[in-house]
Protein backbone atom coordinates (compact mmCIF):
# COMPACT_ATOMS: atom_id res chain seq x y z
CA UNK A 1 0.00 0.00 0.00
CA UNK A 2 0.94 3.62 0.15
CA UNK A 3 3.07 2.98 3.16
CA UNK A 4 5.91 1.55 1.13
CA UNK A 5 6.14 4.63 -1.04
CA UNK A 6 5.52 7.46 1.34
CA UNK A 7 7.94 9.08 3.68
CA UNK A 8 6.29 9.30 7.05
CA UNK A 9 7.21 10.90 10.32
CA UNK A 10 9.96 12.65 8.54
CA UNK A 11 11.23 15.77 10.21
CA UNK A 12 13.29 18.36 8.38
CA UNK A 13 17.02 18.16 8.88
CA UNK A 14 17.20 21.82 9.50
CA UNK A 15 14.01 22.15 11.50
CA UNK A 16 13.52 24.98 13.97
CA UNK A 17 14.08 22.56 16.86
CA UNK A 18 17.79 22.09 16.35
CA UNK A 19 18.67 25.51 14.97
CA UNK A 20 19.49 26.78 18.44
CA UNK A 21 22.02 24.02 18.99
CA UNK A 22 23.80 24.80 15.74
CA UNK A 23 24.23 28.44 16.53
CA UNK A 24 25.65 27.61 19.93
CA UNK A 25 28.30 25.34 18.54
CA UNK A 26 29.00 24.76 14.89
CA UNK A 27 30.16 21.11 15.15
CA UNK A 28 26.71 20.41 16.57
CA UNK A 29 25.49 20.34 13.00
CA UNK A 30 27.78 17.33 12.63
CA UNK A 31 26.08 15.79 15.62
CA UNK A 32 28.87 16.15 18.19
CA UNK A 33 28.64 18.92 20.75
CA UNK A 34 31.82 20.47 22.16
CA UNK A 35 31.89 18.07 25.10
CA UNK A 36 31.58 15.01 22.83
CA UNK A 37 27.91 14.44 23.53
CA UNK A 38 25.54 13.56 20.69
CA UNK A 39 23.21 16.26 19.42
CA UNK A 40 21.00 17.23 16.53
CA UNK A 41 18.60 15.25 14.41
CA UNK A 42 19.18 11.58 13.73
CA UNK A 43 17.29 10.37 10.65
CA UNK A 44 16.56 6.67 10.83
CA UNK A 45 15.27 4.71 7.84
CA UNK A 46 13.61 1.65 9.37
CA UNK A 47 11.63 -1.31 8.01
CA UNK A 48 7.86 -1.02 8.37
CA UNK A 49 7.82 -3.99 10.78
CA UNK A 50 9.86 -1.88 13.23
CA UNK A 51 7.18 0.85 13.38
CA UNK A 52 6.04 0.30 16.97
CA UNK A 53 9.36 -0.66 18.53
CA UNK A 54 11.49 2.01 16.82
CA UNK A 55 8.98 4.72 17.72
CA UNK A 56 9.55 3.81 21.38
CA UNK A 57 13.30 3.31 21.00
CA UNK A 58 13.55 6.68 19.28
CA UNK A 59 11.80 8.40 22.18
CA UNK A 60 14.02 6.59 24.70
CA UNK A 61 17.13 7.60 22.74
CA UNK A 62 16.04 11.24 22.79
CA UNK A 63 15.50 11.01 26.56
CA UNK A 64 18.93 9.42 27.07
CA UNK A 65 20.62 12.03 24.84
CA UNK A 66 19.11 15.44 25.53
CA UNK A 67 19.33 17.72 22.51
CA UNK A 68 18.78 14.93 19.99
CA UNK A 69 15.74 14.35 17.87
CA UNK A 70 14.99 11.09 16.08
CA UNK A 71 12.98 11.22 12.87
CA UNK A 72 11.79 7.93 11.44
CA UNK A 73 11.15 7.09 7.82
CA UNK A 74 9.21 3.83 7.89
CA UNK A 75 8.62 1.83 4.72
CA UNK A 76 9.35 -1.50 3.10
CA UNK A 77 13.06 -2.37 3.34
CA UNK A 78 13.55 -2.52 -0.43
CA UNK A 79 11.96 0.91 -0.92
CA UNK A 80 14.19 2.33 1.82
CA UNK A 81 17.31 0.76 0.30
CA UNK A 82 16.41 2.36 -3.03
CA UNK A 83 15.86 5.75 -1.41
CA UNK A 84 19.25 5.57 0.34
CA UNK A 85 21.05 4.57 -2.84
CA UNK A 86 19.35 7.45 -4.67
CA UNK A 87 20.87 9.84 -2.14
CA UNK A 88 18.19 10.32 0.51
CA UNK A 89 19.74 12.13 3.53
CA UNK A 90 19.62 9.30 6.08
CA UNK A 91 21.85 8.59 9.08
CA UNK A 92 20.89 5.02 9.93
CA UNK A 93 19.34 2.13 7.99
CA UNK A 94 17.58 -0.69 9.85
CA UNK A 95 16.48 -3.37 7.39
CA UNK A 96 14.07 -6.30 7.81
CA UNK A 97 16.25 -8.49 5.60
CA UNK A 98 19.98 -8.90 4.93
CA UNK A 99 19.24 -8.83 1.17
CA UNK A 100 18.07 -5.20 1.26
CA UNK A 101 20.99 -4.28 3.50
CA UNK A 102 23.34 -5.84 0.94
CA UNK A 103 21.90 -3.49 -1.71
CA UNK A 104 23.10 -0.57 0.42
CA UNK A 105 26.50 -1.99 1.40
CA UNK A 106 27.30 -3.03 -2.18
CA UNK A 107 26.59 0.53 -3.31
CA UNK A 108 29.23 1.67 -0.79
CA UNK A 109 26.71 3.55 1.34
CA UNK A 110 27.28 1.75 4.66
CA UNK A 111 29.75 3.10 7.21
CA UNK A 112 31.23 -0.11 8.59
CA UNK A 113 29.73 -3.59 8.72
CA UNK A 114 26.02 -4.00 9.47
CA UNK A 115 25.19 -5.73 12.76
CA UNK A 116 22.19 -7.93 13.43
CA UNK A 117 20.11 -6.45 16.26
CA UNK A 118 16.97 -8.61 16.18
CA UNK A 119 15.44 -11.71 14.66
CA UNK A 120 11.88 -12.38 13.63
CA UNK A 121 10.03 -15.50 12.56
CA UNK A 122 6.70 -16.48 11.15
CA UNK A 123 3.53 -17.44 12.97
CA UNK A 124 0.10 -18.36 11.63
CA UNK A 125 -2.25 -15.44 12.26
CA UNK A 126 -5.83 -16.58 12.82
CA UNK A 127 -8.93 -14.79 14.12
CA UNK A 128 -9.45 -14.86 17.88
CA UNK A 129 -10.77 -18.21 19.07
CA UNK A 130 -9.06 -19.94 16.12
CA UNK A 131 -12.39 -21.06 14.54
CA UNK A 132 -10.70 -23.47 12.12
CA UNK A 133 -8.60 -25.09 14.85
CA UNK A 134 -5.29 -24.34 13.10
CA UNK A 135 -2.37 -25.76 15.07
CA UNK A 136 0.16 -26.64 12.36
CA UNK A 137 1.17 -25.64 8.85
CA UNK A 138 -0.52 -28.71 7.37
CA UNK A 139 -3.89 -27.47 8.68
CA UNK A 140 -3.69 -24.63 6.17
CA UNK A 141 -4.04 -27.05 3.26
CA UNK A 142 -7.45 -28.29 4.41
CA UNK A 143 -10.20 -27.56 1.88
CA UNK A 144 -12.20 -24.47 2.72
CA UNK A 145 -9.36 -22.82 4.63
CA UNK A 146 -8.49 -19.59 2.84
CA UNK A 147 -4.90 -18.45 3.32
CA UNK A 148 -3.12 -15.19 2.55
CA UNK A 149 0.65 -15.18 2.04
CA UNK A 150 3.03 -12.35 1.25
CA UNK A 151 4.33 -12.21 -2.30
CA UNK A 152 7.72 -13.87 -2.77
CA UNK A 153 9.29 -10.52 -3.68
CA UNK A 154 8.93 -9.21 -0.12
CA UNK A 155 10.77 -10.67 2.91
CA UNK A 156 7.74 -12.24 4.63
CA UNK A 157 6.84 -14.00 1.37
CA UNK A 158 10.35 -15.31 0.89
CA UNK A 159 10.32 -16.60 4.47
CA UNK A 160 6.92 -18.24 3.93
CA UNK A 161 8.19 -19.96 0.80
CA UNK A 162 11.29 -21.28 2.59
CA UNK A 163 9.24 -22.47 5.54
CA UNK A 164 6.60 -24.21 3.43
CA UNK A 165 9.32 -25.80 1.30
CA UNK A 166 11.21 -27.04 4.37
CA UNK A 167 8.00 -28.45 5.83
CA UNK A 168 7.02 -30.09 2.53
CA UNK A 169 3.62 -28.39 2.65
CA UNK A 170 2.08 -27.51 -0.72
CA UNK A 171 -0.25 -24.60 -0.13
CA UNK A 172 -2.38 -22.64 -2.59
CA UNK A 173 -3.10 -19.22 -1.12
CA UNK A 174 -6.02 -17.11 -2.36
CA UNK A 175 -3.81 -14.03 -2.47
CA UNK A 176 -0.15 -12.99 -2.42
CA UNK A 177 -0.14 -9.70 -0.56
CA UNK A 178 2.32 -6.91 -1.25
CA UNK A 179 3.39 -6.65 2.38
CA UNK A 180 2.88 -8.30 5.73
CA UNK A 181 0.36 -5.69 6.91
CA UNK A 182 -1.76 -6.45 3.83
CA UNK A 183 -1.82 -10.16 4.69
CA UNK A 184 -2.74 -9.34 8.27
CA UNK A 185 -5.50 -6.96 7.16
CA UNK A 186 -7.16 -9.79 5.22
CA UNK A 187 -7.35 -11.84 8.43
CA UNK A 188 -8.62 -8.86 10.43
CA UNK A 189 -11.37 -8.24 7.87
CA UNK A 190 -12.34 -11.91 7.94
CA UNK A 191 -11.67 -12.40 4.24
CA UNK A 192 -9.17 -15.19 4.85
CA UNK A 193 -8.98 -17.76 7.63
CA UNK A 194 -5.24 -17.57 8.19
CA UNK A 195 -2.09 -15.80 7.05
CA UNK A 196 1.62 -16.38 7.54
CA UNK A 197 2.96 -13.20 9.15
CA UNK A 198 5.82 -12.26 11.45
CA UNK A 199 5.34 -12.88 15.14
CA UNK A 200 5.82 -9.16 15.81
CA UNK A 201 3.05 -8.22 13.40
CA UNK A 202 0.67 -10.74 14.95
CA UNK A 203 1.52 -9.36 18.39
CA UNK A 204 0.95 -5.76 17.27
CA UNK A 205 -2.48 -6.86 15.98
CA UNK A 206 -3.32 -8.89 19.08
CA UNK A 207 -6.61 -7.01 19.46
CA UNK A 208 -7.91 -8.85 16.37
CA UNK A 209 -5.75 -11.91 15.74
CA UNK A 210 -3.98 -14.72 17.54
CA UNK A 211 -0.53 -15.90 16.47
CA UNK A 212 -0.17 -19.69 16.30
CA UNK A 213 3.47 -20.79 16.66
CA UNK A 214 4.65 -23.71 14.55
CA UNK A 215 7.87 -25.72 14.62
CA UNK A 216 8.98 -25.20 11.02
CA UNK A 217 9.16 -21.41 11.40
CA UNK A 218 12.65 -21.91 12.87
CA UNK A 219 13.72 -22.85 9.33
CA UNK A 220 13.31 -19.31 8.07
CA UNK A 221 14.44 -16.89 10.76
CA UNK A 222 14.75 -13.34 9.51
CA UNK A 223 17.77 -11.31 10.58
CA UNK A 224 17.39 -7.54 11.04
CA UNK A 225 20.68 -5.72 10.33
CA UNK A 226 21.37 -2.09 11.18
CA UNK A 227 24.16 0.22 10.02
CA UNK A 228 25.28 3.86 10.09
CA UNK A 229 25.45 5.35 6.61
CA UNK A 230 28.48 6.80 4.80
CA UNK A 231 26.79 10.04 3.82
CA UNK A 232 25.07 10.51 7.18
CA UNK A 233 24.42 14.23 7.83
CA UNK A 234 24.92 13.39 11.52
CA UNK A 235 27.62 10.68 11.74
CA UNK A 236 28.09 10.89 15.53
CA UNK A 237 24.34 10.64 16.03
CA UNK A 238 24.18 7.72 13.61
CA UNK A 239 26.83 5.72 15.50
CA UNK A 240 25.24 6.54 18.85
CA UNK A 241 21.82 5.40 17.65
CA UNK A 242 23.19 2.10 16.28
CA UNK A 243 24.96 1.50 19.62
CA UNK A 244 21.76 2.34 21.50
CA UNK A 245 19.71 -0.20 19.52
CA UNK A 246 22.11 -2.90 20.79
CA UNK A 247 21.79 -1.69 24.42
CA UNK A 248 19.76 -3.51 27.08
CA UNK A 249 16.85 -1.01 27.23
CA UNK A 250 16.33 -1.07 23.43
CA UNK A 251 16.63 -4.86 23.32
CA UNK A 252 13.94 -5.06 26.02
CA UNK A 253 11.60 -2.99 23.84
CA UNK A 254 12.27 -5.27 20.87
CA UNK A 255 11.71 -8.40 22.97
CA UNK A 256 8.38 -7.04 24.15
CA UNK A 257 7.35 -6.52 20.52
CA UNK A 258 8.04 -10.20 19.84
CA UNK A 259 11.53 -10.05 18.34
CA UNK A 260 14.19 -12.53 19.38
CA UNK A 261 17.63 -11.37 20.42
CA UNK A 262 20.35 -12.01 17.81
Amino acid sequence: MGQAYGIRRRGGHHGAGDGRLRRADDPASEGAAADGRVAGTVTVFAAASLTESFTRIGRDFEAANPGTRVTLNLAGSSALANQINQGAPADVFASAAPKNMATVTEAGNADGTPSVFARNQLVIAVPHGNPDGVTALADLTRPGVKVALCAEQVPCGAAARTTLGAAGVALTPVTLEQDVKGALAKVRLGEVDAALVYRTDARAASADVTGVEFAESARAVNDYPIVALTDAPNPAGARAFVAYVHSAPAQAVLAEAGFQAP
Binding site: L176, E177, Q178, G190
Partner: protein, 271 residues
Amino acid sequence: MSRVLDTVAPRRRGRVPAALLIPAGLGLLFLVLPLAGLVLRAPWTTLPQRLTAPGALTALRLSVQTATLATVFCLLLGVPLAWLLARVEFPGRRLVRALVTVPLVLPPVVGGVALLLVFGRRGLLGGWLDATFGVTLPFTTAGVVLAESFVAMPFLVIAVEGALRAADHRYEEAAATLGAGRWTTFTHVTLPLVAPGLAAGAVLCWARALGEFGATITFAGNYPGRTQTMPLAVYLALETDLESAIVLSLVLLVVSVGILVALRDRWMTSA
Protein backbone atom coordinates in the same frame (compact mmCIF):
# COMPACT_ATOMS: atom_id res chain seq x y z
CA MET B 1 -18.17 16.45 -28.99
CA SER B 2 -18.67 16.49 -25.29
CA ARG B 3 -17.70 19.40 -23.13
CA VAL B 4 -15.28 17.29 -21.19
CA LEU B 5 -12.65 16.81 -23.84
CA ASP B 6 -13.57 19.74 -25.97
CA THR B 7 -10.87 22.12 -27.08
CA VAL B 8 -11.46 25.59 -28.35
CA ALA B 9 -9.86 26.36 -31.69
CA PRO B 10 -6.93 28.74 -31.20
CA ARG B 11 -7.72 32.32 -32.06
CA ARG B 12 -4.96 34.03 -33.94
CA ARG B 13 -5.31 37.42 -32.32
CA GLY B 14 -2.05 38.86 -31.05
CA ARG B 15 0.83 36.98 -29.49
CA VAL B 16 0.50 34.40 -26.78
CA PRO B 17 1.41 36.14 -23.50
CA ALA B 18 4.59 34.80 -21.90
CA ALA B 19 2.82 34.76 -18.53
CA LEU B 20 0.67 31.95 -19.91
CA LEU B 21 3.10 30.33 -22.32
CA ILE B 22 5.87 29.72 -19.77
CA PRO B 23 3.74 27.99 -17.10
CA ALA B 24 1.98 26.07 -19.86
CA GLY B 25 5.33 24.82 -21.14
CA LEU B 26 6.46 23.94 -17.60
CA GLY B 27 3.19 22.11 -17.02
CA LEU B 28 3.68 20.08 -20.16
CA LEU B 29 7.29 19.24 -19.19
CA PHE B 30 6.14 18.24 -15.72
CA LEU B 31 3.70 15.73 -17.21
CA VAL B 32 5.92 14.45 -20.00
CA LEU B 33 9.37 14.28 -18.35
CA PRO B 34 8.58 11.34 -16.02
CA LEU B 35 7.32 9.39 -19.03
CA ALA B 36 10.53 10.26 -20.86
CA GLY B 37 12.41 9.00 -17.80
CA LEU B 38 10.70 5.63 -18.15
CA VAL B 39 11.61 5.45 -21.82
CA LEU B 40 15.23 6.50 -21.20
CA ARG B 41 15.77 4.05 -18.34
CA ALA B 42 14.14 1.13 -20.16
CA PRO B 43 16.48 -1.85 -20.59
CA TRP B 44 16.07 -2.01 -24.36
CA THR B 45 18.51 -4.91 -24.84
CA THR B 46 16.65 -7.29 -22.55
CA LEU B 47 13.24 -5.92 -23.47
CA PRO B 48 12.08 -8.85 -25.64
CA GLN B 49 12.81 -11.47 -22.95
CA ARG B 50 11.15 -9.42 -20.23
CA LEU B 51 8.13 -8.73 -22.43
CA THR B 52 7.53 -12.33 -23.31
CA ALA B 53 8.00 -13.57 -19.76
CA PRO B 54 4.84 -15.55 -19.03
CA GLY B 55 3.95 -13.48 -15.97
CA ALA B 56 3.95 -10.22 -17.91
CA LEU B 57 1.66 -11.44 -20.68
CA THR B 58 -0.73 -13.04 -18.19
CA ALA B 59 -1.01 -9.80 -16.26
CA LEU B 60 -1.47 -7.76 -19.44
CA ARG B 61 -4.22 -10.06 -20.73
CA LEU B 62 -6.01 -9.96 -17.39
CA SER B 63 -5.71 -6.18 -17.25
CA VAL B 64 -7.21 -5.65 -20.71
CA GLN B 65 -10.00 -8.17 -20.04
CA THR B 66 -10.99 -6.76 -16.66
CA ALA B 67 -10.77 -3.12 -17.78
CA THR B 68 -13.02 -3.93 -20.74
CA LEU B 69 -15.53 -5.83 -18.62
CA ALA B 70 -15.51 -3.01 -16.09
CA THR B 71 -16.24 -0.51 -18.88
CA VAL B 72 -19.18 -2.62 -20.11
CA PHE B 73 -20.48 -2.86 -16.55
CA CYS B 74 -20.10 0.91 -16.13
CA LEU B 75 -21.89 1.58 -19.44
CA LEU B 76 -24.83 -0.63 -18.46
CA LEU B 77 -25.33 1.11 -15.12
CA GLY B 78 -23.62 4.45 -15.64
CA VAL B 79 -25.45 5.65 -18.78
CA PRO B 80 -28.91 5.28 -17.22
CA LEU B 81 -27.58 6.98 -14.09
CA ALA B 82 -26.21 9.87 -16.15
CA TRP B 83 -29.54 10.13 -18.00
CA LEU B 84 -31.41 10.24 -14.69
CA LEU B 85 -29.15 13.02 -13.41
CA ALA B 86 -29.42 15.04 -16.62
CA ARG B 87 -33.05 14.57 -17.61
CA VAL B 88 -35.18 13.87 -14.56
CA GLU B 89 -36.01 16.39 -11.85
CA PHE B 90 -36.16 14.71 -8.47
CA PRO B 91 -35.57 15.83 -4.92
CA GLY B 92 -31.99 15.34 -3.75
CA ARG B 93 -30.59 15.29 -7.27
CA ARG B 94 -27.64 17.46 -6.33
CA LEU B 95 -26.86 15.18 -3.41
CA VAL B 96 -26.98 12.13 -5.69
CA ARG B 97 -24.65 13.84 -8.15
CA ALA B 98 -22.21 14.59 -5.32
CA LEU B 99 -22.37 10.98 -4.13
CA VAL B 100 -21.58 9.73 -7.63
CA THR B 101 -18.32 11.68 -7.62
CA VAL B 102 -17.17 10.44 -4.20
CA PRO B 103 -15.08 7.55 -5.62
CA LEU B 104 -13.10 10.19 -7.55
CA VAL B 105 -11.71 11.68 -4.35
CA LEU B 106 -11.71 8.61 -2.13
CA PRO B 107 -8.26 7.01 -1.83
CA PRO B 108 -8.69 3.79 -3.84
CA VAL B 109 -7.39 1.69 -0.94
CA VAL B 110 -10.25 3.03 1.17
CA GLY B 111 -12.59 2.22 -1.71
CA GLY B 112 -11.27 -1.36 -1.57
CA VAL B 113 -11.89 -1.62 2.16
CA ALA B 114 -15.39 -0.15 1.68
CA LEU B 115 -16.09 -2.76 -0.99
CA LEU B 116 -14.93 -5.49 1.40
CA LEU B 117 -17.29 -4.17 4.08
CA VAL B 118 -20.20 -4.61 1.66
CA PHE B 119 -19.21 -7.41 -0.73
CA GLY B 120 -16.65 -9.22 1.45
CA ARG B 121 -17.25 -12.58 3.07
CA ARG B 122 -18.48 -10.84 6.24
CA GLY B 123 -19.93 -7.90 4.32
CA LEU B 124 -23.52 -6.66 4.30
CA LEU B 125 -24.31 -8.17 0.89
CA GLY B 126 -21.32 -10.49 0.56
CA GLY B 127 -22.39 -12.61 3.54
CA TRP B 128 -25.83 -13.06 1.98
CA LEU B 129 -24.37 -13.85 -1.47
CA ASP B 130 -22.12 -16.47 0.10
CA ALA B 131 -24.86 -18.07 2.20
CA THR B 132 -27.50 -18.03 -0.57
CA PHE B 133 -25.58 -18.66 -3.76
CA GLY B 134 -22.16 -19.73 -2.51
CA VAL B 135 -20.68 -16.75 -4.37
CA THR B 136 -17.69 -14.92 -2.92
CA LEU B 137 -16.25 -11.95 -4.79
CA PRO B 138 -12.94 -11.14 -3.06
CA PHE B 139 -9.91 -12.85 -4.62
CA THR B 140 -11.78 -13.50 -7.90
CA THR B 141 -11.53 -11.91 -11.34
CA ALA B 142 -15.10 -10.69 -10.87
CA GLY B 143 -13.82 -8.92 -7.76
CA VAL B 144 -11.22 -7.12 -9.89
CA VAL B 145 -13.94 -5.98 -12.30
CA LEU B 146 -16.04 -4.74 -9.38
CA ALA B 147 -13.12 -2.81 -7.84
CA GLU B 148 -12.19 -1.23 -11.17
CA SER B 149 -15.83 -0.32 -11.88
CA PHE B 150 -16.22 1.36 -8.51
CA VAL B 151 -13.26 3.63 -9.18
CA ALA B 152 -13.89 4.22 -12.91
CA MET B 153 -17.66 4.67 -13.15
CA PRO B 154 -17.74 8.32 -12.02
CA PHE B 155 -15.60 9.27 -15.04
CA LEU B 156 -18.21 7.78 -17.34
CA VAL B 157 -21.21 9.22 -15.53
CA ILE B 158 -19.78 12.74 -15.47
CA ALA B 159 -18.80 12.64 -19.14
CA VAL B 160 -22.16 11.30 -20.30
CA GLU B 161 -24.13 13.64 -18.09
CA GLY B 162 -22.17 16.58 -19.50
CA ALA B 163 -22.91 15.41 -23.04
CA LEU B 164 -26.61 15.01 -22.24
CA ARG B 165 -26.85 18.50 -20.80
CA ALA B 166 -25.12 19.97 -23.82
CA ALA B 167 -27.32 18.08 -26.29
CA ASP B 168 -30.24 19.88 -27.87
CA HIS B 169 -33.51 18.95 -26.12
CA ARG B 170 -35.58 19.84 -29.14
CA TYR B 171 -34.74 16.65 -31.02
CA GLU B 172 -36.08 14.60 -28.13
CA GLU B 173 -39.17 16.80 -27.94
CA ALA B 174 -39.71 16.42 -31.68
CA ALA B 175 -39.44 12.65 -31.33
CA ALA B 176 -41.98 12.75 -28.52
CA THR B 177 -44.46 14.83 -30.56
CA LEU B 178 -44.08 12.32 -33.35
CA GLY B 179 -45.29 9.64 -30.97
CA ALA B 180 -42.08 8.05 -29.70
CA GLY B 181 -42.12 6.83 -26.10
CA ARG B 182 -39.40 7.79 -23.65
CA TRP B 183 -37.49 4.52 -24.18
CA THR B 184 -37.64 4.79 -27.99
CA THR B 185 -36.56 8.41 -27.78
CA PHE B 186 -33.68 7.42 -25.52
CA THR B 187 -32.40 4.64 -27.78
CA HIS B 188 -33.08 6.29 -31.18
CA VAL B 189 -32.50 9.97 -30.50
CA THR B 190 -30.68 10.63 -27.23
CA LEU B 191 -27.98 7.95 -27.48
CA PRO B 192 -26.93 8.78 -31.07
CA LEU B 193 -26.92 12.45 -30.12
CA VAL B 194 -24.47 11.94 -27.26
CA ALA B 195 -22.42 9.17 -28.91
CA PRO B 196 -19.15 11.14 -28.99
CA GLY B 197 -19.50 12.08 -25.31
CA LEU B 198 -20.38 8.48 -24.51
CA ALA B 199 -17.28 7.27 -26.32
CA ALA B 200 -15.10 9.79 -24.53
CA GLY B 201 -16.53 8.73 -21.17
CA ALA B 202 -16.05 5.07 -21.99
CA VAL B 203 -12.42 5.64 -22.96
CA LEU B 204 -11.71 7.61 -19.78
CA CYS B 205 -13.43 4.89 -17.77
CA TRP B 206 -11.42 2.15 -19.50
CA ALA B 207 -8.14 3.97 -18.99
CA ARG B 208 -8.87 4.54 -15.31
CA ALA B 209 -9.81 0.88 -14.87
CA LEU B 210 -6.61 -0.23 -16.62
CA GLY B 211 -4.44 1.71 -14.18
CA GLU B 212 -6.41 0.81 -11.06
CA PHE B 213 -4.22 -0.44 -8.20
CA GLY B 214 -5.37 0.37 -4.67
CA ALA B 215 -8.96 -0.84 -4.70
CA THR B 216 -7.98 -3.93 -6.68
CA ILE B 217 -5.22 -5.15 -4.36
CA THR B 218 -7.33 -4.40 -1.30
CA PHE B 219 -10.57 -5.98 -2.50
CA ALA B 220 -9.42 -8.68 -4.92
CA GLY B 221 -5.93 -9.41 -3.59
CA ASN B 222 -3.03 -10.41 -5.80
CA TYR B 223 -2.81 -13.80 -7.50
CA PRO B 224 -1.16 -14.34 -10.89
CA GLY B 225 -3.65 -15.14 -13.64
CA ARG B 226 -6.67 -14.47 -11.47
CA THR B 227 -6.38 -11.05 -9.86
CA GLN B 228 -2.85 -9.83 -10.61
CA THR B 229 -3.33 -7.00 -13.10
CA MET B 230 -0.47 -5.00 -14.65
CA PRO B 231 -0.32 -2.29 -11.96
CA LEU B 232 -0.04 -4.98 -9.27
CA ALA B 233 2.67 -6.77 -11.24
CA VAL B 234 4.54 -3.48 -11.61
CA TYR B 235 4.35 -2.80 -7.89
CA LEU B 236 5.71 -6.23 -6.96
CA ALA B 237 8.40 -6.08 -9.63
CA LEU B 238 9.58 -2.83 -8.03
CA GLU B 239 10.44 -4.79 -4.89
CA THR B 240 13.09 -6.86 -6.62
CA ASP B 241 13.63 -5.88 -10.22
CA LEU B 242 13.42 -2.22 -11.20
CA GLU B 243 14.05 -2.93 -14.88
CA SER B 244 11.17 -5.40 -15.15
CA ALA B 245 8.94 -2.86 -13.44
CA ILE B 246 9.95 -0.26 -16.04
CA VAL B 247 9.23 -2.65 -18.89
CA LEU B 248 5.80 -3.52 -17.49
CA SER B 249 5.04 0.17 -17.05
CA LEU B 250 6.07 0.89 -20.62
CA VAL B 251 3.72 -1.81 -21.87
CA LEU B 252 0.88 -0.25 -19.90
CA LEU B 253 1.82 3.16 -21.30
CA VAL B 254 1.97 1.94 -24.91
CA VAL B 255 -1.33 0.06 -24.63
CA SER B 256 -3.20 3.00 -23.14
CA VAL B 257 -1.72 5.62 -25.47
CA GLY B 258 -2.36 3.33 -28.45
CA ILE B 259 -6.00 2.84 -27.54
CA LEU B 260 -6.52 6.53 -26.78
CA VAL B 261 -5.03 7.49 -30.15
CA ALA B 262 -7.00 4.86 -32.04
CA LEU B 263 -10.28 5.91 -30.44
CA ARG B 264 -9.51 9.56 -30.84
CA ASP B 265 -9.11 9.18 -34.58
CA ARG B 266 -12.31 7.24 -34.76
CA TRP B 267 -14.63 9.03 -32.37
CA MET B 268 -13.30 12.29 -31.17
CA THR B 269 -11.96 14.34 -34.02
CA SER B 270 -15.18 16.01 -35.05
CA ALA B 271 -15.35 18.63 -32.33
